[in-house]
């Protein structure tokens, strides 16, 4: 394990906390030609320049895994104090908020002021919200800098984030408006799965890494 040719390239780390579809994200980054590492070792976290926090599963389970791996403190240091960019995907974005009501009440990482709540769609709309839906971009840079118009993305979730309006980078309409993307300084998150959203998803990854100065 560990990064090869350590001093030449900027490094992308996919945080492996035993929940999530690392394979799909790895496929997308491979296709775009980025070098990356999937790891949860502290020394790798310290060396990385940008992070991807994946996640498919339950909130409580995710926080339990992160706690067990003892990587919360080091991530907090790198992201909050050393301002390294991070992109949370689906559950990865949700755990960056303060807390969630999924199967009880769980404390999150608290990097973004906000909460995770169960969706309450109008009649006829089933839970979970699964499928392709078009989002409304509010903050174009950097995530949607390469995307034109209100692009379609693949969603798959039953809970969603409510947070301060100034941190919302995109919304999706499913009976009512839900947060689809968040941005706060170097912290980004998307509720949909860009690795499963074809060209517009790949464009989002490229927009994020361009922002990180990784080419």
């Amino acid at each position: 394990m560990g990064f090869k040719n350590a001093f030449t390239m900027k490094k992308i780390l996919i945080i492996d906390y035993k929940l999530g579809n690392h394979q799909s994200i790895a496929n997308a980054l491979d296709f775009l030609g980025y070098k990356f590492l999937i790891s949860n070792v502290i020394s790798d976290i310290l060396k990385a320049d940008a992070y991807i926090l994946p996640g498919v599963g339950a909130f409580g389970e995710a926080m339990k895994n992160l706690t067990r791996l003892k990587i919360i403190d080091v991530l907090e240091q790198e992201v909050l104090r050393r301002n390294k960019p991070i992109l949370g995907i689906c559950l990865g974005m949700q755990i960056m908020t303060e807390d969630s009501e999924e199967n009880g009440n769980f404390k999150g990482l608290g990097w973004i002021k906000g909460h995770v709540v169960k969706m309450h769609p109008k009649k006829g709309n089933s839970i979970p919200h699964v499928g392709w839906n078009n989002i409304k971009v509010i903050l174009k840079n950097p995530l949607f800098s390469r995307v034109t118009g209100d692009a379609n993305y693949y969603f798959d979730h039953s809970y969603h984030v409510i947070c301060d309006k100034k941190n919302v980078a995109g919304v999706v309409l499913y009976g009512y408006k839900m947060t689809a993307a968040i941005a706060n300084n170097n912290i980004f998150g998307v509720q949909f799965h860009p690795e499963k959203s074809q060209i517009n998803g790949l464009r989002l990854y490229k927009g994020f890494f361009n922002y990180c100065n990784i080419f």
């Binding site: 579809n21 394979q23 799909s24 496929n27 693949y154 790949l202």
Partner: protein, 289 residues
């Protein structure tokens, strides 16, 4: 708004993508990974990869192949064939599948749906039902021996939905490979009785069949195998036709066929000679990500 979906089915028998006719005749098409790559490029909304020989031979899913094909697939990937435990499903998800399709394992022990949904979430579990019309009545069929299972399709679908299935993949054996259109009566029967998404499959022969599956059958996703494999840009032209018919779909491909005319069945109408002559020297910029 949530979009309607087109699904591309890749039927795999002995590691080869095949055209299936009535669940008993098979014609070779080619390598599965090429089929997946093309469907992905043509803007399909999801890919359903079914290995029909695994369970028959008592084999596990081919995990390495799934890992390999998932590299070409940037849309949701449903994998079926050879799955008979929750650990198989977890391993498939780890190897790049987004959903798993189960069929004979559920006919044997329906509670598997419940167990799997608790671990992987409902959205991950697709239950496939094969149906045949015998003496004017629909019957659930076990595809292994093409035997009738004593289950009423409507009741069976309702049981599956209650157990926690996230989606139902509805196959009509009579229409499989026939290109006669979806069995709309059957599709409507099932979509009417459950409120989880239903993927209609079997019989698509022209773009208008998909339109009927959405409007008359009320399917959430219309899927086809043979129809998509044999024509260049089949998915994009189908989507362009459906869009003209007022069906809300995702069109993200660079070529979108929006300016084309279609005939009644959804085939592209012939363009004027002057238009075609003009096209010969037209520059198409490459797509940038």
């Amino acid at each position: 708004m949530l979009k309607q979906r087109l699904g591309g089915v890749v039927v795999v028998k002995d590691n080869l993508c095949v055209q299936s006719i009535g669940f008993h005749k098979y014609l070779p098409i080619g390598k599965p990974e090429i089929a997946v790559e093309f469907l992905n490029k043509w803007g399909i909304d999801e890919i359903i990869y079914l290995d029909i020989s695994a369970t028959k031979k008592g084999l596990k899913p081919d995990f390495e192949t799934i890992k390999y094909i998932s590299r070409k697939c940037f849309v949701p990937l449903t994998v079926g064939g050879g799955i008979n435990s929750v650990s198989d499903m977890q391993k498939l998800v780890r190897f790049g599948a987004d959903k798993v399709a189960i069929n004979s394992a559920v006919l044997k022990s329906p509670e598997l749906v419940n167990k799997a949904a608790a671990v992987l979430g409902n959205q991950c579990i697709v239950v496939s039902i094969d149906i045949k019309l015998v003496k004017g009545k629909y019957h659930v069929i076990s595809y292994l021996g093409l035997q009738i299972v004593e289950k009423d399709p409507v009741k069976w679908a309702q049981i599956l939905a209650k157990l926690g299935a996230g989606e139902i993949l509805l196959n009509s054996i009579d229409r499989d490979g026939s290109a006669k259109g979806f069995d709309l009566d059957l599709v409507h029967k099932i979509t009417n009785c459950v409120n989880i998404p239903v993927v209609a499959c079997g019989g698509a022969g022209n773009p208008d069949d998909f339109s009927k599956a959405f409007t008359i059958g009320k399917a959430n996703c219309a899927a086809a195998a043979n129809f998509f494999h044999f024509t260049e840009h089949s998915v994009i032209t189908t989507k362009a036709y459906l869009k003209k018919k007022g069906i809300d779909l995702r069109i993200d491909t660079q070529a979108d066929y929006q300016s084309f005319e279609f005939d009644d069945t959804g085939s592209i109408a012939k363009m004027s000679d002057s238009y075609l002559a003009e096209q010969r020297f037209k520059y198409c910029p490459p797509e940038t990500i």
